[in-house]
């Protein structure tokens, strides 16, 4: 049985509820349903035969004792079907509820897309609901703050321009204690690689920049990091439905890479950022594929290990399992490369079941964890199924090559006492690689 939840109060939702008019709602829904969306929405809504076969795909549905309201189609019924049926004439309370459903009960992980006989993209529908809620101003407070940060600073965490450079130089100096000639080259024009990270790395996970700088230097990569805004590849505006800000943030990122005349962008172990640069942001800007090749960290490690540039001193000993983040596995096809890397690094690697495209979501991604503390308990209680899946592996270490997954799995790990140590690939690589000068 799933544990009971307490009532949740989100300040921004309450504030918005007080001032939202039915006229504004109607205008927002009309704009999105008739002006912005097109054939997909029409086909999805008219094709769904209410068969419920999508239900078993959803970790929230499974974790909440198969409560029908949490099935993917159930969430669509509680949001967009109603909006269409009532021709946009819904109440502010309805929009508040729709915002909670779309922003905190769906991770837009697209697992259900693989279970629908027609391939109906419920994630797309939920993001459409978020877009409507955004136009009504009805977005949970914490993720809205993140979107504000993107708008103001072009990064997710209100990192100031000088703090960014300062953090990189701090990590460079730290790492020089270990490798005296280590550099984090800033704005080096014509480099082969621009390395980009997400806002939380300089904010509170600077050691990840250290690890990566060490790896780049050890393999003698021709790389650089921008000293200017555009260094952050993350994008919560994509998840609040603030497409305009999403476009600005992505343009800044791509233009920074263009300015530095790099051949490709390598990005850290992040899932949603990959979705933003590879799938959604680029398309908003009119690019079918990213204007500059994007290489996810998993792919880059694969390349380094396959070509023998990265040498391993001794394989990682502990029993390890692997989480498949939706945005790079279902979204980027890196399932086999991820396994190649895991096997190359670890002696004892076991799969969790189900895996690859069918892996269960972390319930943190899709902006859900970014809705912050008010929704934390709900988020953890809505993913019991993941805890069971993790426990069943009997592994000691869980590799999660995605920031959101990493944080979400940490919460689940803690609540359900799974007893796993959760790591990024880069942490394991840093630990076991051959270090020059040693």
């Amino acid at each position: 049985m799933s544990e009971p939840e307490k009532a949740i109060t989100d300040d921004n939702l309450e504030r918005c509820l007080a001032g939202l008019t039915k006229e504004r709602i109607k205008k927002a829904i009309d704009q999105v349903l008739t002006k912005e969306s097109g054939a997909r929405l029409k086909a999805y809504v008219e094709t769904c035969v209410h068969c419920g076969l999508c239900a078993d795909a959803c970790h929230v549905y499974l974790s909440k004792d198969k409560n029908p309201i949490y099935s993917p189609a159930g969430k669509v019924k509680r949001t967009i079907w109603e909006m269409i049926r009532k021709n946009g004439n819904v109440s502010p309370e309805f929009i508040k509820e729709a915002s909670i459903i779309a922003s905190t009960e769906c991770n837009a992980c697209k697992r259900c897309v693989m279970y629908c006989p027609f391939g109906i993209d419920v994630a797309y529908l939920m993001l459409t609901v978020r877009r409507i809620c955004h136009l009504c101003g009805m977005t949970p407070m914490y993720i809205q703050d993140t979107a504000h940060s993107h708008a103001v600073t072009m990064n997710q965490m209100w990192v100031k321009d000088d703090e960014w450079v300062d953090t990189l130089q701090w990590q460079e100096e730290e790492a020089q204690a270990e490798m005296s000639n280590l550099r984090i080259p800033l704005d080096k024009e014509g480099s082969e690689i621009m390395y980009s990270v997400i806002g939380p790395e300089p904010k509170f996970q600077a050691y990840l920049i250290y690890n990566m700088a060490y790896i780049f230097n050890a393999v003698k990569a021709d790389w650089t990091m921008p000293s200017t805004p555009g260094w952050d590849n993350s994008d919560m505006a994509m998840y609040t439905g603030d497409n305009e800000i999403m476009g600005r943030v992505k343009r800044e990122h791509f233009e920074t890479a263009e300015r530095l005349k790099v051949k490709r962008i390598v990005m850290g172990e992040c899932g949603h950022a990959f979705r933003s640069v590879y799938d959604m942001g680029n398309r908003w800007l009119g690019w079918k594929m990213p204007p500059i090749p994007i290489v996810h960290a998993i792919d880059y490690y694969y390349e380094l290990l396959k070509t023998g540039k990265l040498k391993i001193k001794e394989k990682f000993k502990k029993k390890v399992t692997l989480h498949d983040p939706c945005n790079v596995i279902r979204g980027g096809g890196l399932a086999e490369k991820s396994r190649y890397v895991a096997n190359a690094l670890c002696e004892n690697f076991v799969e969790m079941t189900p895996n690859r495209e069918h892996n269960f979501c972390c319930n943190a991604g899709g902006g859900v964890i970014n809705c912050g503390p008010p929704f934390k308990t709900k988020r953890v209680l809505s993913n019991r199924i993941k805890a069971e899946q993790m426990k069943a592996t009997g592994a000691e270490v869980l590799i999660s090559p995605c920031h959101n997954c990493h944080s979400g799995l940490e919460d689940i790990n803690h609540h359900y006492k799974c007893g796993l140590e959760i790591k990024f690939f880069s942490e394991i690589i840093y630990e076991i690689m051959e270090k020059p000068g040693e």
Partner: protein
């Protein structure tokens, strides 16, 4: 009674077929122009290879994870849809009608087989009804229109079965049979039965997106 039969099987049948075919083309035309206007990137993503790969998997029984997870539903769905298509097209009585009216003719099913397939369709509808009423997840998603659609699909087969076996009033049953068949034809483009028209496209699109962009399977 006789004039009524002549009317439903004459002018009304013409209207039904015209609305059905015209409606299907209209819906498709609408979908394609809407794509052009709003989401033209879809054309750049569409891929014959990945579209067909996806359709192929979803047209093969038990070729997808979800089909394996729901074996009863998979068997019922496949048998139901096959019978639904095969029976009206290859029923001897229908073939004879085409022959008499337009002098075109094709292979027809042995009558006993057609009879069994008709029962299969009715049984399939009963199973879907049972599922809608008993499975809490499906029940939650069900609206009145779903029951009406089930009725629209079941009616031509039920009345056809009763007419063939000459149960109840034969002539009335024939009228009801023709009429309900026409209602179903007309309903296809304008209700959720339009999944008949849309599903190859939604499937092909998501197959292309998963195959060509995401480099992942969609089954």
């Amino acid at each position: 009674m006789h004039t009524l039969y002549n009317f439903v099987s004459g002018p009304l049948a013409w209207i039904a077929f015209l609305v059905f075919i015209g409606g299907c083309f209209y819906k498709l035309y609408n979908l394609i122009t809407l794509t052009q206007q709003k989401e033209s990137f879809i054309f750049s993503i569409m891929s014959v290879k990945y579209g067909l790969r996806s359709i192929g998997h979803w047209l093969t029984p038990f070729a997808t994870v979800n089909m394996k997870n729901n074996p009863v539903m998979t068997v019922v769905t496949f048998v139901f849809h096959l019978s639904l298509f095969i029976t009206p097209i290859f029923l001897l009585a229908h073939v004879i009608l085409w022959d008499e009216s337009f002098n075109i003719s094709w292979w027809s099913l042995p009558e006993q087989i057609a009879d069994i397939l008709t029962v299969v369709v009715i049984a399939g509808c009963c199973y879907f009804l049972y599922r809608r009423l008993t499975d809490p997840t499906v029940k939650y998603l069900t609206s009145i229109s779903d029951f009406i659609l089930l009725g629209i699909v079941a009616a031509p087969f039920l009345t056809g079965f009763l007419a063939y076996h000459q149960l109840f009033d034969y002539q009335l049953m024939m009228i009801l049979h023709v009429l309900s068949g026409e209602i179903m034809l007309v309903a296809i483009p304008f209700t959720r039965l339009s999944h008949m028209i849309y599903s190859p496209f939604t499937r092909a699109y998501i197959g292309s997106e998963f195959g060509g962009v995401r480099h992942a399977k969609d089954w």
